[in-house]
């Protein structure tokens, strides 16, 4: 490198290992998925036609979108309450609140799904307790259905909703709230007119994050859905592993990636994606 001061070529070498690893072992397998979707069982868009002709395919998509929307709304609502409490808490209390968010975030998703099964199944702790208390006589169907999936998914997604909202709430100058109160605003008015609008960027970022994570989620729906309520990811797995229908499975995988990238592209104008993911660390 002759031109002094400009970062030398040496720095590019640092990027190379990660770049090669990602291209060879990440991007290539995924591109192969896209390729299979238009080549198997025969070349063409035959697999994609199923989107319009197959009732089963459409049912999976509708179920997935429905569960995703419900999960996103609930996770945002609960997450907002927590983020709001964290933002306004005293420094001491804040540490505990954040712990309540971060610990579930890092605990294995399998462990959490297992805990929900323990609680919600027919002979689970919730049904047993309610029956012993005489509140119900028959066990409630709490799991291996859509209800169970939503309970587990929201539980998984709340921490992801909290982090971007918290980041944006922390940028709100606390003096604004004091000033609004001082100017005669009630607590409700201060929240609606000042806090909520200022925290909207975080809410949008959280919505995008939760929605795209939920779309392709596999483990929680598979365990808590009990094979009866199928979401896209589990359906794809089924096509590949059990039915060996590669064309159909990869078509749906492609649609999943497209849906996620489109969502991100639309919202990347509004929210800084790297900040969303940066907040996760």
């Amino acid at each position: 490198m002759t031109a002094a001061g400009r970062p030398g070529a040496g720095w590019w070498w640092l990027i190379l290992p990660a770049f090669l690893l990602l291209v060879v072992f990440y991007v290539a397998p995924i591109l192969q998925v896209l390729a299979i979707s238009v080549t198997e069982p025969e070349p063409g868009l035959g697999n994609y036609e199923r989107l319009f002709t197959s009732g089963a395919v459409q049912r999976v998509i509708v179920t997935t979108l429905r569960i995703c929307l419900i999960t996103t709304v609930l996770a945002l609502l609960l997450g907002y309450a927590i983020a709001y409490a964290i933002t306004l808490a005293s420094p001491r209390a804040r540490g505990w609140w954040i712990l309540a968010v971060l610990v579930p975030l890092w605990i294995s998703v399998l462990v959490r799904a297992f805990a929900w099964v323990t609680l919600l199944r027919r002979q689970g702790l919730v049904n047993n307790t309610l029956m012993e208390a005489g509140i119900i006589s028959e066990p409630l169907p709490l799991v291996w259905n859509e209800f169970g999936i939503v309970v587990g998914m929201v539980h998984y997604m709340v921490p992801f909703a909290v982090l971007p909202m918290l980041a944006s709430m922390r940028e709100i100058d606390p003096r604004l709230l004091a000033a609004a109160r001082g100017l005669g605003g009630s607590r409700g008015q201060v929240f609606r007119r000042v806090f909520l609008p200022l925290s909207m960027p975080g809410v949008i970022a959280a919505a995008v994050l939760v929605f795209i994570f939920t779309l392709g989620f596999y483990i929680t729906p598979a365990i808590l859905g009990g094979g009866k309520t199928l979401m896209v990811a589990e359906w794809i797995g089924l096509q590949i592993l059990d039915l060996i229908r590669w064309g159909l499975g990869t078509m749906m995988a492609t649609m999943l990636v497209v849906a996620i990238l489109v969502t991100l592209a639309v919202f990347s104008r509004i929210v800084d994606l790297r900040r969303i993911f940066g907040a996760g660390a």
């Binding site: 490198m1 002759t2 031109a3 002094a4 001061g5 400009r6 030398g8």
Partner: protein, 364 residues
């Protein structure tokens, strides 16, 4: 130290463009062996870019950088062997003072014993021998600055580059460290290139000052020369304070000239007067304007009333609205002020014919 006179630095037509923006334009400059040169200018004048180009962190778009006549433009920073004191010092926060100073020796593969000896000598040079094991954050601003100096000098650099070395310090400490820096320069006898926007610092430290504006070299010379004979309105205004008097030249002779407003100017030997009928701009330093007593005479006299005044301890600063010349600022030492200033008070101002200096209007 091996070569106590230091080295000569030359810039030839140095230019740096960032896309459409030209940060430095065609700057040529010679810095002699052992000289203390200051690049002075407002922010955005290109002074830091020039320093960074000399250090090797910025690649020039055109022109060359010469060390003792040898072209070093293509060398990366680590091959130039220049010491540098960064703005904010850039001390490594995870290393002690001694480790910081030893760093340039360590990267050069010096043995531990050699390193220790040189570090001790450098610490003595800046009088910090007892602070060797402290971390930078445990030092005051002034001490950090001295560590940065020791670190930049310990490896016998060909040049010492200083980027606003005193700007992070408060005013009093700054004055103290100016003295130290000057003494240090005399002691080590190396070539120093300093960058600052502080004109007082430039005047007190430098053997020579190069004034920059909008990426161009406007004027260079010894501090006294620049102050007394500024070439342009910008130089007169930036280096100290100045009144500007405008007028048409009505009489011109070998030793001086007069303006239609009645101001007379005496020129130094050999200076050519402007032709009669041309417009002329004069710079007049406020401290060269005196308050005349009743009946006292001067080469130039202007009558007027005090617009405002402020007391500055060592002196007064007056703004006077004159009849013929508009507003004139004057600064008077307190002990010379024969009057108690008050707004609206009529006064007579006077100055000698040498005091006003013709300057050029700045190029747009």
């Amino acid at each position: 130290m091996s070569d106590a006179r230091g080295h000569a630095l030359g810039l030839k037509g140095l230019t740096k463009r960032y896309g459409e923006f030209t940060a430095v334009e065609d700057v040529s400059l010679e810095v002699g062996q052992g000289e203390f040169l200051t690049l002075l200018g407002p922010s955005g004048s290109g002074k830091t870019t020039i320093l960074m180009a000399v250090a090797g962190f910025v690649a020039p778009s055109a022109g060359a950088i010469l060390l003792d006549g040898r072209d070093i433009t293509p060398l990366p920073p680590e091959k130039r062997n220049f010491g540098m004191v960064f703005q904010g010092y850039a001390l490594f926060p995870h290393m002690t003072v001694a480790e910081n100073i030893a760093f340039p020796l360590r990267v050069r593969g010096l043995s531990r014993a050699d390193r220790d000896a040189k570090v001790r000598a450098a610490l003595d040079l800046v009088q910090l021998a007892t602070f060797a094991e402290r971390l930078p954050r445990q030092l005051s601003g002034g001490q950090q600055q001295r560590v940065a100096l020791a670190r930049a000098l310990v490896f016998d650099p060909a040049l010492l580059l200083l980027d606003e070395p005193l700007s992070a310090l408060d005013k009093k400490l700054r004055a103290e460290l100016q003295e130290e820096l000057k003494a240090l320069h005399r002691r080590v006898g190396r070539t120093f290139v300093n960058v600052t926007h502080d004109q007082e610092e430039a005047l007190s430290l430098s053997d020579r000052i190069a004034i920059l504006n909008h990426g161009r070299l406007v004027q260079q010379g010894a501090p006294g020369l620049l102050y007394e004979r500024p070439r342009t309105r910008f130089v007169a205004d930036f280096l100290g304070k100045s009144n500007f008097l405008e007028g048409t030249v009505v009489e011109a002779a070998a030793g001086g000239f007069a303006l239609d407003s009645g101001v007379s100017v005496r020129l130094p030997d050999g200076a050519a007067p402007p032709p009669a009928g041309s417009r002329s701009l004069l710079s007049l330093r406020p401290e060269k304007v005196a308050l005349l007593a009743e009946g006292e005479a001067a080469d130039n006299v202007a009558e007027g009333r005090i617009l405002s005044w402020s007391y500055l301890g060592a002196g007064f600063a007056l703004r006077v609205a004159t009849e013929r010349l508009g507003e004139i600022r004057a600064s008077l030492p307190s002990w010379q002020a024969a009057i108690a200033p008050a707004e609206g008070l009529p006064v007579r101002l006077g100055w000698s014919a040498e005091a006003a200096v013709p300057v050029e209007e700045d190029a747009a």
